[in-house]
């Protein structure tokens, strides 16, 4: 009786394995796909290779002045020479350690969620970020207290100003937004009406018109003798604008909480504020973390608009330098640098929000 001899198992044919299989499945699965791959690949190669060469391989990184540059490749010396101005604007050079220190404090408040630290540290960092940091940052950057030399806001600029606008805007807009959202969901018709009108008005008009209004009309609204400086006026405009968007995001979260939660909280005998603070808002805010992150990112990008009312944020600082006749033809480099800075921050923030979303995710989903 012949015994059954199993043949040794064969490895899969070459076209079903490794890189060849991947290529077949992802790039050449049909004749149409193959044509698309070849055409797209050709255009990608012919644009990317010269671009990378322009920006890195033949680019000029060292040297002094515009003479060291080559018209056919990127000239990054420009960025190096004006780096201080791009970061701090007209802030006096001898005092730049102060905003730098404020920035370090900011980093201390923001970074902990990324590190494997106990959650207690992260929470304290967060509390410091919304209470101590604005005060400490203001004292450090503005001066005038504790023997620090006072620096006028007209000298603030660059990336520093961008960060200040975005940070203060968010810290102030979030509580106003939450209050507006609660007002819009309130059972009191007049309160609800006021909130609806406020939110819809700010959301319907472009930020530029608000900044114009803040710079042209705010002085008219104030009683004689009271005057705001330009930066503060811009901040008021940005904050109110952002608060309206924030309110709609939070409202979405409030609506997503099942009725049972509201009713259970009422059944426990909690009053309105404790109901909201202990039961509803923590859940609602957790749901809308991605929405809040989107609002924060769009606010960060929108801060560039202040250059239209004459403040020198990062984009404004770079743009003003580009009109310097000593540097001709570094336009693309300048704008790419700004784009890169904003991209790093915005992309970082969206990653950061994913991180927080995961940390707050206490659902016991299967």
């Amino acid at each position: 009786m012949a015994t059954h001899q199993p043949l040794p198992s064969q490895s899969a044919p070459v076209v079903q394995r490794g890189i060849v299989r991947w290529l077949r499945e992802n790039l050449f699965s049909s004749w149409l796909n193959s044509i698309v791959t070849l055409v797209v690949g050709y255009y990608l190669l012919t644009t990317l290779v010269p671009l990378i060469d322009w920006a890195f391989f033949s680019a000029v990184f060292t040297g002094a002045g515009v003479e060291a540059c080559n018209p056919n490749s990127a000239c990054w010396i420009f960025i190096q020479e004006r780096f201080g101005f791009f970061m701090y604007g007209f802030y006096p050079e001898a005092l730049r350690w102060r905003p730098t220190l404020a920035f370090v404090l900011f980093a201390l408040a923001v970074v902990p969620p990324f590190l494997p630290l106990p959650s207690r540290v992260g929470r304290w960092a967060g509390i410091f970020g919304i209470t101590g940091l604005p005060v400490a940052g203001y004292i450090l950057i503005s001066g005038g207290l504790f023997g620090l030399e006072s620096v006028n806001t007209s000298q603030w600029g660059g990336l520093m100003l961008t960060l200040i606008l975005a940070y203060v805007g968010i810290i102030a807009a979030l509580p106003i937004g939450v209050a507006l959202a609660l007002g819009r969901r309130s059972e009191m018709p007049i309160i609800r009406g006021i909130c609806v009108v406020f939110i819809e008005f700010w959301r319907a008009v472009p930020l530029i018109t608000i900044l114009f209004m803040a710079s042209v009309m705010l002085p008219l609204f104030l009683p004689d003798g009271v005057s705001f400086d330009k930066l503060l006026r811009a901040l008021v405009g940005i904050t109110l604008f952002q608060a309206a968007y924030m309110a709609e995001v939070v409202r979405g979260g409030l609506q997503a909480i099942p009725r049972g939660q509201y009713e259970a909280a009422e059944a426990l005998g909690l009053g309105y504020w404790r109901r909201m603070r202990l039961i509803i808002l923590p859940q609602a805010l957790k749901i809308v973390v991605p929405g809040i992150a989107n609002t924060v990112i769009s606010l960060f990008k929108d801060t560039t608009l202040v250059l239209i009312i004459g403040l020198f944020d990062l984009l404004g600082a770079v743009k003003s330098t580009l009109s310097d006749p000593a540097w001709n033809n570094v336009m693309a480099e300048g704008y790419l640098f700004v784009a890169f800075c904003f991209w790093v921050f915005c992309f970082g923030m969206s990653r950061y929000s994913h991180r927080i979303e995961k940390q707050l995710d206490t659902d016991h989903r299967q």
């Binding site: 114009f212 004689d224 991209w343």
Partner: protein, 395 residues
């Protein structure tokens, strides 16, 4: 509601513990606060304007503006009034928003679908496009296209020619202008007739399909009507449309239609920026339709094209329309960034130049904001009507 329980309650609550009394008090306080703030602002404004000698009222609208505008869709010159500059700004805003919405929708749908492509290269390219352009401020993109790209184009003398009739230079894009001669009116009339006939045809085809199940190829027939009839008339009436082809004179181009570089840069930036958001909306809409729907439709024997048109797209649209509406609104509002590069939109010519000249901040800011409020509210209204038409019908 707890106060309605009457007999169950042990005695009446103290007035400060009664929710009804409390809510009434809160509302009265809120109203008083709003009224007080409004009154104070009004008083301050009146006092400030008097002390600065600013006139009030809308009389300024009939005064001569006295400044030129580089582009206007309606007739305009320096001797016209501020109300005319308002109209010029408004039409320019509507033009750039309308074109922007059109292009951003096309690009957004293409990229959103490309993002779902089975071709790895195409999908990753779409992803890279979205991640790069979404995370860079719009204003920066406008500057980039205006100063770094369009500003570097050659001057009119060395303009790039496209097929000998269109020219691209740092003064903008110049294309031939159609000249309508007598007889062109007949073409317009046939076009209107073709449109009416095809609309009736589509309605009739839909009714007949609902009643009998028989399908009439309404779309190709109406397309043939709309394109074919005017073309036929064009030849019958002896080709009444001529072209005014631009020519380079001593210093500048004459003839043709000029699209100024400001419009181009603004349009390109708005399109590229908004399309990234639209692409993500389209992708999430398409992935929200469960594959079971496609499989069920295919199992019924529907051909793939009809599966897409009758089953997948209608369900995806429900998810797509509401966020798409806010993107259209955002684009319209973002068109106000025109002021940064000098495209003469409403904010630029009215809130900018006119305000500087007249100093009537309150009236001008109010008018500008009213325009944006009207645009916003009408877009949401139209989209809500459409949204209701495509919404899921449940028991």
């Amino acid at each position: 509601m707890s106060s309605d329980q009457g007999p169950l309650r042990p005695g009446n609550p103290k007035p400060w513990n009664d929710p009804r009394v409390r809510s009434l008090v809160f509302q009265i306080i809120a109203m008083a606060a709003v009224a007080w703030v409004g009154y104070t602002l009004f008083q301050n404004t009146i006092t400030n304007m008097e002390s600065r000698g600013i006139k009030t009222g809308f009389g300024f609208l009939n005064e001569t503006a006295g400044f030129g505008i580089i582009m206007s869709l309606i007739e305009y010159n320096e001797t016209m009034t501020y109300s005319r500059t308002f109209l010029v700004g408004l039409t320019n805003t509507l033009l750039v928003s309308g074109l922007g919405i059109l292009f951003a929708t096309i690009v957004g749908f293409i990229v959103g679908i490309a993002r779902l492509s089975t071709n790895w290269l195409v999908a990753k390219l779409a992803l890279a496009y979205i991640e790069i352009f979404r995370n860079v401020p719009l204003l920066l993109q406008i500057f980039f296209w205006y100063f770094a790209v369009l500003g570097n184009l050659p001057g009119p003398r060395q303009a790039t020619e496209v097929a000998g009739v269109a020219f691209l230079s740092n003064r903008g894009i110049i294309i031939p202008k159609p000249v309508f001669e007598s007889g062109a009116g007949w073409m317009g009339m046939t076009l209107v007739i073709a449109l009416i006939v095809s609309t009736t045809l589509v309605i009739w085809a839909r009714r007949r399909q609902a009643a009998t199940g028989r399908i009439f190829p309404a779309f190709p027939v109406s397309l043939a009507l709309i394109l074919g009839l005017p073309t036929l008339v064009y030849f019958l009436t002896g080709q009444p449309i001529g072209w005014d082809i631009p020519t380079f004179g001593t210093f500048r181009f004459t003839g043709g239609i000029t699209a100024i570089p400001e419009l181009g840069a603004l349009l390109v930036a708005l399109t590229i920026y908004t399309a990234t958001f639209i692409a993500e909306i389209v992708r999430s809409g398409i992935t929200s339709v469960s594959s079971g729907q496609t499989e069920a439709a295919l199992a019924l024997g529907l051909p793939p094209r009809r599966v897409l048109r009758l089953v997948v797209v209608p369900q995806a649209l429900r998810v797509i329309i509401p966020p798409l509406t806010s993107q259209y609104l955002n684009l319209t509002k973002n068109s106000s960034l025109a002021v940064a590069i000098g495209y003469p939109d409403l904010v630029n010519v009215f809130m900018g130049t006119s305000l500087n000249q007249t100093g009537q901040a309150v009236e001008i800011v109010a008018m500008t904001m009213a325009v944006y409020l009207t645009i916003s509210l009408s877009i949401s209204l139209l989209m809500n009507i459409y949204n209701r038409a495509v919404a899921l019908e449940e028991r």
